[in-house]
């Protein structure tokens, strides 16, 4: 039976294995590839999407669990917080290989949507689930502080 949900504001219906992780449904079945595969067990955060505004690891979220819910990927980001985060990412030249950055940005947007003035410790807490092997962490921290300023302005 088809599973229905909302992806980036549009209704989607997929008739696939309900155990298929959300990540692979979005990448392979729908064709949006901005969310990445890094570990397949919710350890690295490269696949991070928002479900009802909350960051989830799509590689370990079965499609059946998001029936009827609103899913946002990097392609569907919008609004003041997302714009501030993405602009700060460019300004601080955060990305190196860039592969993890969709996930980093999704986590950062979720953080700043809840907390307009995170401390370093709060940033570490919220971003700990997102691995960057290029270790762009110094700039991720700086970009989040900068984006927070924009959001507060």
């Amino acid at each position: 039976m088809a599973i229905k949900f909302t992806l980036n504001g549009k209704p989607v219906s997929l008739d696939v294995d309900p155990d298929m992780p959300l990540l692979w449904a979005v990448r392979d079945e729908i064709g949006l590839t901005g969310s990445k595969f890094g570990c397949g067990m919710a350890q690295c955060g490269a696949c991070t999407m928002h479900v009802e505004g909350q960051p989830v690891r799509a590689c370990s979220t079965p499609l059946s669990a998001i029936e009827g819910q609103k899913v946002t990927t990097i392609e569907g980001l919008g609004g003041k917080v997302a714009q501030a985060v993405q602009a700060a990412w460019v300004k601080h030249e955060v990305a190196q290989c860039g592969y993890c950055q969709s996930g980093q940005i999704m986590s950062a947007v979720a953080l700043l949507s809840d907390n307009k003035k995170p401390s370093d410790a709060e940033i570490d807490e919220a971003m700990q689930g997102n691995i960057c092997r290029c270790a762009t962490y110094v700039r991720i921290r700086a970009a989040i502080h900068d984006a927070a300023k924009t959001v507060r302005a």
């Binding site: 692979w24 990448r27 890094g38 570990c39 990305a95 110094v138």
Partner: protein, 739 residues
């Protein structure tokens, strides 16, 4: 054609060997190749993008695209190479673009390797003169086109920020407007290059060319390639290195919905499916029986124990000066220590992947197209051709962004490319799947357990010191596997039994010590090994720099003062040492519970010193709070990217400083994913301050040199405050003395 083979490359031994490799084993001509005039003439139809030369394409929309012969894997090479072109072309930065060059060793060879490939922090160093010349030549052609069109003397024409102007007549044109005509102009044999004092981009910050695409999900990696009819394959590899397939039962795998086929290739059994999820479920349902007769069955503890035994005997000489035995006999004091290093996986965020599409006619393979974050195009092209029965030039490679590499994608045996080609060939032989493109993906488990690690090493050091605290003798014995043995580089990079990459950073120790012996025992195990960001320096920098601090402690000398005394003939080492010490406030008191340590190391002809500031709590737990780095990589191209690479190199090195490596039990890798092969996370990243030495020396690499000094700097900081020694990586999580 202009001969560029006289380009003087930095002195690093690896590079010299690699130059030799190109000239002998691969038989390639290194040079600067312009496109043939006929090709240019064919391309000049109005409205088409124009190739000004092999590296620069100008489109009617006024974009300038640099064809990068180097893989962009995060190190910023698309930006760096485009900066060099933009500088000499006098382009506007906003019009610059970059893309991967096709696989063609004649045109796009790494001049340091003699083949097309990226590594050894060579991209900027080997491209600098070549791309300055390419940019200046294209500029001259644009000027010549304008002169002819406007009927004015070329010397009266100026170019600035992408606009070609003639002041006298007030005429102006963009590159895009002039490109079609410019492409027909004869490239001048000699072009003047800019006076570096007039650089507007080189040495300044320009925006990274790939930042926007990497911040909105549109950057294309191999994993994102989707072709009509494309299938996805996962390969079941042997659980032990060297084991082979005895038999397999594909019945249950084939019953998984979406699984199209199960095929055996040389390296295992592949499950081919319509999507990743089906391939994964199919692989889980597959049963393979392995023949372990030739497999490595030792555990890593046993291998290390054997290395320690071996280290008791002299190895082959890698460097010999004076007479260490005599000097030891006369020494007032002998200091000895040994250091251990585990296997390490690269674990780039994008696991290895490749897309292979065969051009078939019936059962015949006519050609092949590959999409990959390809780091070694020439060997990859040759190996894919060999598997498919094609000529190398029949294999087209599209080099996409790589989601990290750290050395992993650069293998002379092209492991993942060959696997992809063999799977494509196997399914291509069957009617139903003939010609279907296939994407081979490695899962994280495949990556962590798949080998090609930084080798495990054991080092033993011994120093003799006189009554005044001068080091009179230094003996350094290294035990570990060769990265180069068994590769096409062996005949030139392994001299008299010494793999240059096993001893780099040790055999060229810069310290003024009259009697010196560096020895190597090269071991063999079934575990496959490979270069890992900064290669030999990943272990030699730690062993030498920590041992030096042990000597400093044993003789009551300040670590910086001791290094200064030993480096008087090495001004660039000294320069970064002094700069880092000064910026970190070396010698000034620290707050309670804070410790400082320093290390200096040259790798890939770039010089880096790092001061680590570590906080230590009474319970022995500790954290790296800050790293102050000083770097000398010659003429800086983009200071912000240099800073970014040093930050990155430090984070990468720090990961291996605090997190355990790969271990084996009965030949089987004990780790499988990021839960048990942990890597550095954001809360473990220190503040990083990077100071760049101003220089007009030839630019050298920066992708790797930030990595080696961090681990010894941290260990030295801990040693200074705990009066303990730290002789293995990773460092212990608590610094309290064990009973």
């Amino acid at each position: 054609m202009t001969d560029q083979s006289s380009i003087k490359l930095p002195e690093a031994s690896r590079r010299r060997f690699l130059q030799g490799a190109g000239a002998t084993s691969l038989g390639l001509v290194v040079g600067f190749h312009w496109l043939p005039r006929t090709a240019l003439a064919q391309a000049k139809a109005a409205g088409e993008p124009q190739m000004m030369n092999a590296f620069i394409r100008i489109a009617p929309d006024n974009t300038v695209t640099v064809l990068s012969k180097h893989l962009e894997m995060g190190q910023g090479v698309y930006t760096g190479l485009s900066t060099i072109v933009a500088e000499e072309l006098d382009a506007d930065w906003s019009q610059m673009r970059a893309e991967g060059a096709p696989a063609d060793a004649k045109t796009y060879a790494n001049l340091a390797f003699g083949m097309q490939g990226t590594g050894g922090s060579t991209a900027i160093a080997n491209s600098y003169d070549q791309l300055r010349k390419a940019g200046a030549t294209a500029r001259a052609m644009l000027v010549a086109a304008a002169a002819e069109q406007w009927k004015v003397p070329a010397q009266d024409i100026t170019v600035s920020k992408g606009v070609v102007s003639h002041a006298g007549s007030g005429r102006k044109a963009s590159f895009g407007q002039l490109a079609a005509k410019a492409a027909t102009m004869t490239p001048p044999a000699e072009v003047p290059l800019k006076d570096p004092a007039k650089f507007v981009y080189i040495g300044k910050k320009v925006a990274r060319i790939d930042s926007r695409a990497k911040g909105n999900g549109t950057a294309q990696y191999t994993i994102d390639v989707k072709l009509p009819g494309m299938l996805t394959a996962l390969l079941q590899r042997a659980p032990q290195f060297g084991a082979t397939v005895k038999s397999f039962d594909a019945g249950k795998a084939k019953a998984v919905p979406g699984v199209v086929d199960v095929v055996q290739i040389s390296n295992g059994v592949a499950v081919v499916a319509k999507n990743f999820w089906s391939a994964k479920l199919g692989r889980e349902a597959l049963t393979v029986e392995w023949d372990d007769a030739a497999a490595e069955k030792r555990g890593s503890d046993q291998i290390l124990a054997e290395y320690k035994e071996l280290a008791k005997k002299p190895g082959l000489p890698a460097r010999k000066e004076g007479n260490v035995d005599e000097a030891f006999a006369k020494a007032a004091k002998i200091i000895e220590a040994s250091y251990d290093f585990p296997y390490l996986a690269h674990a780039p965020m994008e696991p290895l992947d490749v897309v292979v599409k065969l051009d078939t006619q019936g059962a015949d393979i006519r050609g092949c197209e590959i999409w990959a974050g390809d780091q070694f195009q020439t060997p990859d092209q040759m190996n894919a051709a060999r598997v498919l029965g094609l000529k190398p030039e029949q294999v087209k490679i599209n080099t996409l962004f790589a989601g990290g590499s750290f050395g992993r994608r650069a293998t002379t045996m092209s492991d993942y490319i060959v696997e992809g080609a063999e799977i494509a060939k196997a399914i291509g032989a069957k009617e139903g799947t003939r010609g279907a493109p296939v994407k081979l993906m490695w899962t994280r488990e495949d990556d962590i357990q798949g080998g090609r690690y930084r080798p495990m090493y054991h080092h033993v050091l011994k120093a003799g010191v006189d009554a005044q605290g001068n080091i009179t003798a230094w003996q350094h014995r290294i035990v570990g596997q060769s990265i180069i043995a068994g590769t096409p580089f062996e005949q030139v990079m392994v001299k008299d039994g010494i793999d240059a990459t096993s001893v780099e950073g040790a055999a060229n120790l810069p310290y003024a010590i009259p009697n010196m012996s560096v020895e190597l025992h090269t071991t063999r195990t079934g575990v496959t090994v490979l270069w890992w960001r900064s290669v030999g320096s990943t272990h030699t920098a730690f062993a030498t720099e920590v041992f030096l601090d042990e000597i400093a402690a044993a003789t009551g000398q300040d670590p910086v003062a001791l290094r200064r005394k030993l480096l008087t003939r090495h001004p660039r080492h000294l320069g970064v040492l002094n700069l880092a010490a000064e910026k970190a406030g070396w010698g000034k008191p620290l707050p309670a519970g804070r410790l400082r340590g320093i290390a200096v190391h040259e790798s890939f002809s770039s010089y880096v010193a790092e001061v680590a500031e570590v906080s230590l709590k009474p319970d022995g737990s500790w954290k790296v709070e800050k790293i102050v780095a000083a770097v000398d990589c010659g003429q800086p191209i983009n200071p912000d990217i240099i800073r970014a690479q040093v930050e990155s190199g430090i984070g990468f090195g720090l990961s291996a400083t605090i997190k355990p490596g790969i271990s084996l039990s009965n030949g089987t890798v004990e780790q499988s994913n990021f839960h048990d092969y942990e890597v550095l996370r954001i809360h473990e990243m220190p503040q990083v301050e990077v100071h760049i030495v101003p220089s007009r020396e030839k630019p050298t690499g920066i992708g790797e040199p930030g990595t080696p000094p961090v681990a010894p700097a941290v260990a030295n900081a801990l040693m200074s405050g705990t009066k303990q020694v730290y002789r293995a990586l990773p460092l212990p999580a608590t610094a309290t003395k064990s009973a």
